[in-house]
Symmetry: C2
Subunit: 154 residues, 2 copies
């Protein structure tokens, strides 16, 4: 079963948790990223996420492997949604199961930081008063060259 | 709506998450405690949790208030199950939503540690070869006096 994937539909938390539930686990930490209405006082109406899907899924799998090396007893599943997301919609769910709770928190936190560092998913913010491509999720680089270009005023 | 409660039925993760989902939140951390099959090489068949329910719910609410003081932007919901739980059943779900992700992890971790410190819930382990009352969840005290007594071989 696929444990690292990109979807353009609604995300089910229970589905992601089920993928890591097992007899050896006593702890499951999940991180759920949702669309927030206000960022530094600016109002978001909705978001568009775009991904280069094969590469994004490969990078999510890589994060799972990194976690396995650091926390050999951990099982991880991650789904990230793309397309249009409204306020409070779920953009990402990470679930990590471990025998004991401390590891589940640490590995889950590691996963979300790595997603923002290495997974090629771009976010377009549709503000009340305009639109901006935020670039990568750390917001340190612009929408990259070489990926299909999307105009700011499409 | 009740956000801190004890139940003797199956726990729905989505229900707990829904209680903290809101337009101001960009992050929801959940911690899910499940019944693990092996503890230090000993095989568990199933668990019984018992709680003094009014006090347990009051203590869960207190944890919510403590979180509100430490992380004013956080919203918390917690459910703990009692009765017989089989392997992989969910015993506890904590959900904490915050505007930004770091706080959601910290407040969620705080909640599970406090549950184990102050909430009067006792666990009876039904091992392959016998039964033991584990006492409180930190496993530092025996089944307390003053609560209805349960015999080890009931």
């Amino acid at each position: 079963m696929k444990k690292f994937w990109i979807t353009d539909g609604k995300v089910s938390i229970e589905e992601v948790v089920a993928l890591v539930t097992r007899r050896e686990a006593g702890a499951i930490n999940t991180f759920i990223g949702t669309v927030r209405e206000f960022t530094k006082g600016k109002k978001t109406l909705y978001l568009d996420y775009q991904a280069y899907i094969p590469m994004a899924e490969k990078k999510l799998m890589q994060i799972g492997e990194e976690i396995k090396k650091k926390w050999p007893d951990a099982e991880t599943a991650i789904v990230h949604r793309v397309g249009r997301l409204d306020i409070s919609d779920i953009a990402v769910v990470i679930a990590v199961s471990t025998p004991h709770r401390a590891d589940s928190y640490e590995a889950s936190r590691y996963a979300i930081e790595r997603i923002k560092e290495i997974v090629p998913i771009w976010k377009k913010e549709h503000w009340e008063d305009g639109e901006t491509w935020v670039g990568n999720q750390l917001e340190t680089t612009p929408y990259p060259k070489g990926y299909p270009e999307v105009k700011n005023n499409d």
